[in-house]
């Protein structure tokens, strides 16, 4: 009988391996090498696949995501936050926002989580090459942009000017602030802003859109925007008002997903599926926000 | 249900659910039909689409009320003055059914006497409904040939619940809107087999088929059939059992089968003390409920899909439900458990199958006289009364005459709620169900999809009230009454009237029934769930 009712029943090993490889719903195991605390709600997890061969073959592109799973708690899609050039594994930056991610926060280095992927359409590297890149991020929205920043900073000859405007609620809540000085040294023009001022803060205060005012847009500029939905909407509006073409503004979306591979239907957005047609979209591809 | 029993002689729905479709006017009272009885709401929508008129009496602007032609948004607990005013209008405009009153009812003069003393303006003031709307509703209801009343626990769960029900019965009799197909008075029963549990005599005062224990004839009949002597003094009701309390200790031991009074009964603190005060508590259930956690012995029971048996729905339809799978582990059906205990206590019960039990029920219960399992095997049920094997069942009751002979008018006066809002407790709390959850959530909270849809207890409040208190949608609040306090998440809803709150009782994290009143109706012993005074404050925990 081919139906295996209980895990104790042993399946033919070869068939199990076969089924496992074809089976899009079952995760691989990844071991947590290191955990970096970004702020009170956000951690970055450095992961390696337990299977060495799989780990060796593993690669991803900026903008893609993984489905992570925890025992009894199901799955959630999480964007890559490390450089795609990384040798050993990848990083996921996870915010505590539900039962699954709360459980992830309890993990320690050496623990195992389930991962499957990479999934999704990445940032269009060919369209970004040689362009001036304007990154606009809010809060944990920096995470999916970080692989892109690392990627282009390490290829200075292929990239144009890199600028980033990054906003956060408070100075403590900036993610990846350990990277800021290295990025700036490598040529990133970085401007930070916070919503609420604090004592040791001497940077600007206000919404990230206010930083855009001084920036000049030309045809060679591509904008990469990620953050809370409302921020994305306002940045889009302002960039387009400043003369930027909708197809040059790129963002990455977050949706409730179950399969990650375009079957389950949860992430339908008009005729598109965020998991396979996205999560990276240009502003031109996004539907009218009033009719999601 | 006592109300209908006194006026009509039977406390069950007079019609079938399908008959609602053919009604010309449907009066829905105290029922959030779309949430609690979706199938009934479906018939109402269908009827309205076909041109029927819909009158809704409810303090909340529920979904069904939004579809009503007339929504009488009364203050909680003011059904009687409203109905008396409606009946007065009917009387004034001479829309009464003289012939019906003459032929089929009694005590009309007393009713008339009361109605003639009703002051319409005063009624409008008490109920908070404009006198014009009342008159319009009265005309609409009385002028139609086929008008049906549906009511639910919003009517009965008051200290004057029985009187409320009697008033609806009065209204139906005054206009002759009973005793026919498509018109009647339909109490909607809230649970799986609540009708059947009543029918089967799980009541302190009645043997199966509403045969009163107090009647020596009935006792004799059952004593002969069962071969024993039976107690004659009437027993205690739920609230009397669960509210025993330490000083007036009434019970030493309890056997609870598939109930969760630790979440469903009012004034939970008292329930806890009385259950903890018992020497011995047995609970048989499918999950470890809040009540089972207090038990001395917990028995694992089988759920509906794991046993065969009949259940009776709201429209008196007795249906056979089949066993589909085996119970998990060592769990056994409640029927087996009872037989085992009874045998061990010296009264052997050895039934081969539910079929055999049903045959005994048929023998002893006239209204179930012809409801044998084999008749139910190939049909979706028979509606009682079904007197013998050849009886086709009874879709609508009281044809030719009322079950009790004549329908009896029972004039009723306004009984104000026990605990009106005051300065300290300025809000009136109404409790009820949410769509995705059911009762104490024992089953629905274990269903992944239903839990995903709703897994927190919300407190509905009018946005203006929230604004005055400085509360925002979704914030954590604490609701306090004279009996205790409970945390909730605030939900702003225009369904509510100013000064009124609504919440559910599905969630053990927010045990709403800590707040509610134990005061119950003197006849039906239905607690006043729909009306208690509370205050709201921000939860700082």
């Amino acid at each position: 009988m081919e139906y295996d009712t209980y895990p104790s029943c042993s399946l033919d090993a070869r068939r199990q391996a076969q089924a496992g490889r074809d089976n899009i719903y079952l995760p691989d195991q990844a071991i947590i090498r290191n955990i970096i605390r970004e702020n009170s709600l956000v951690n970055t997890y450095e992961l390696t696949l337990v299977d060495e061969l799989a780990n060796h073959r593993f690669s991803f592109q900026p903008g893609q995501f993984m489905m992570i799973s925890m025992p009894h708690l199901g799955e959630a899609p999480i964007s890559f936050s490390s450089s795609p050039d990384g040798e050993d594994g990848f990083s996921l930056t996870i915010r505590n926002s539900g039962r699954l991610t709360a459980a992830v926060q309890q993990l320690r280095a050496g623990d195992i989580i389930g991962v499957r992927g990479p999934y999704g359409r990445p940032f269009p590297a060919d369209r970004l090459e040689g362009k001036n890149l304007l990154f606009v991020a809010g809060g944990i929205g920096l995470a999916p942009l970080r692989p892109l920043i690392e990627y282009w900073l390490s290829r200075p000859d292929e990239a144009g000017n890199l600028t980033m405007f990054y906003g956060s609620r408070t100075p403590e809540e900036f993610c990846f602030n350990r990277d800021f000085s290295r990025w700036e040294q490598n040529g990133l023009n970085l401007r930070l802003t916070v919503d609420q001022t604090a004592e040791e803060w001497d940077g600007s205060v206000g919404l990230v859109t206010s930083l855009l005012d001084g920036y000049t847009i030309d045809d060679e500029t591509m904008a990469l925007v990620c953050g809370p939905g409302i921020m994305i909407r306002f940045v889009f509006k302002q960039l387009q008002a400043m003369g930027m073409k909708a197809e040059n503004i790129i963002t990455t979306l977050e949706r409730h997903m179950k399969c990650g591979v375009g079957i389950c239907g949860h992430c339908h957005m008009e005729e598109k599926l965020v998991c396979i047609d996205g999560p990276v979209f240009t502003a031109a591809e996004l539907p009218d926000p009033d009719n999601p | 249900m006592a109300g209908l029993a006194t006026t009509f002689g039977s406390g069950a729905m007079t019609n079938t659910i399908n008959e609602l479709e053919e009604a010309q006017v449907i009066l829905v009272s105290g029922s959030n039909t779309t949430v609690t009885h979706p199938q009934v709401a479906r018939r109402i929508f269908d009827a309205v689409d076909r041109g029927a008129k819909l009158i809704v009496i409810d303090p909340r602007k529920t979904k069904i009320a939004r579809h009503a032609h007339i929504h009488l948004q009364i203050r909680p607990g003011t059904d009687i003055p409203l109905l008396n005013a409606i009946m007065r209008c009917i009387l004034d405009e001479n829309l009464i059914d003289d012939l019906f009153i003459e032929m089929r009812t009694e005590n009309y003069l007393a009713m008339c006497d009361l109605l003639l003393r009703v002051d319409l303006n005063q009624a409008a003031e008490i109920t908070g409904v404009a006198a014009d709307d009342i008159a319009q509703a009265a005309r609409m209801y009385a002028r139609a040939q086929r008008s049906t009343i549906c009511y639910c626990l919003g009517v009965t769960q008051h200290t004057c619940g029985t009187a409320n029900v009697k008033s609806y019965a009065n209204l139906a009799m005054l206009t002759g809107h009973v005793e026919q197909e498509f018109t009647g008075v339909d109490p909607l029963r809230g649970q799986y087999n609540v009708q059947g549990a009543c029918d089967m005599g799980a009541l302190p005062g009645g043997f199966p088929g509403y045969q009163a224990v107090a009647d020596p004839e009935n006792r004799k009949k059952f004593e002969e059939a069962w071969g024993c002597t039976l107690p004659e003094n009437p027993g205690l009701t739920v609230i009397e059992m669960t509210h025993g309390g330490p000083d007036e200790k009434r019970l030493q031991a309890m056997f609870i089968m598939g109930e969760n009074p630790m979440l469903s009964d009012p004034v939970l603190d008292r329930v806890r003390t009385s259950l903890q005060g018992l020497d011995f508590l047995v609970v048989s259930d499918i999950f470890l409920t809040e009540t089972a956690e207090l038990a001395d012995v917990v028995l694992p029971a089988a759920c509906f899909a794991e046993k065969t048996g009949t259940v009776t729905n709201s429209e008196r339809r007795v249906q056979l439900s089949h066993k589909a799978v085996d119970p998990p582990g060592e769990a056994r059906a409640d029927g087996w458990i009872i037989q085992e205990i009874s045998t061990r206590m010296g009264y052997p019960m050895q039934y081969e199958s539910p079929r055999e039990i049903m045959e005994e029920i048929c023998l002893l219960t006239p209204i179930y006289g012809g409801i044998y399992h084999d008749r139910l095997h190939a049909s979706w049920g028979l509606q009682w009364p079904c007197l013998d094997r050849n009886h086709p069942g009874t879709p609508f009751l009281h044809k030719y005459n009322f079950t009790r002979g004549f329908g009896r008018f029972e004039p009723e006066q306004h009984v104000p709620p026990v605990e009106p809002a005051d300065n300290e407790f300025p809000f009136v709390l109404i409790t009820g169900r949410r769509y995705h959850q059911y009762h104490t959530g024992t089953m629905t909270r274990r269903s992944v999809t239903l839990t995903r849809e709703r897994d927190t207890s919300l407190l509905d409040m009018h946005p203006e009230d929230a604004k005055e208190l400085g509360l925002a949608d979704g914030c954590r609040i604490r609701v306090r009454s004279r009996r205790g306090s409970v945390p909730f998440t605030l939900h702003l809803s225009t369904q509510m009237d100013r000064g009124e709150l609504f919440s559910d009782f599905h969630f053990h994290e927010s045990p709403t029934n800590i707040l509610t009143l134990a005061d119950s109706d003197p006849e039906a012993k239905c607690p006043e769930y729909k009306c208690c005074a509370v205050a709201v404050e921000v939860d700082h925990d």
Binding site: - | Q39, G309, G335
Partner: protein
């Protein structure tokens, strides 16, 4: 295995439905078209009625309280203990000191048996259920 006709276990409408059984598990439900109430549809609760049946929280063994904790026991032990304790209360305090709550979630047959048991074996009319709640 064919579909098993059953009745929805939630509200009093009493919708007729079919339970789909595969490998000893209820895997789904579908409403009956000919049923006078369900008429080919169920509400959201009815459509998910199968989801709790095989939940891991289901009680699978009798439990007896020992030293303030509920511990698994055999059926014989549990039933004997119940019979013994109820008989003791009955003899020591009288029948009317025992109360029984029946259930609107159990079948007619079970309700009938429970009231019969209460009236005969326990000798009291202290039986009620949640109709009023």
């Amino acid at each position: 295995m064919p579909d098993i006709p059953s009745i929805c276990c939630y509200c009093g409408c009493g919708c007729g439905l079919y339970l789909h059984v595969e490998h000893g598990r209820v895997t789904g439900v579908s409403p009956s078209r000919s049923h006078p109430v369900s008429r080919n549809n169920l509400c959201v609760k009815g459509w998910h009625v199968h989801e709790y049946i095989h939940h891991s929280d289901r009680l699978t063994r009798p439990l007896i309280r020992q030293h303030d904790r509920l511990r698994p026991a055999s059926w014989d032990d549990a039933l004997d203990l119940i019979a013994e304790k109820l008989t003791a209360v009955k003899e020591q305090y009288g029948s009317d000191r025992i109360g029984v709550l029946s259930s609107a979630k159990c079948s007619n047959e079970e309700n009938y048996l429970l009231q019969k048991f209460t009236r005969i074996s326990l000798g009291t009319n202290n039986i009620d259920h949640c109709a009023r709640l």
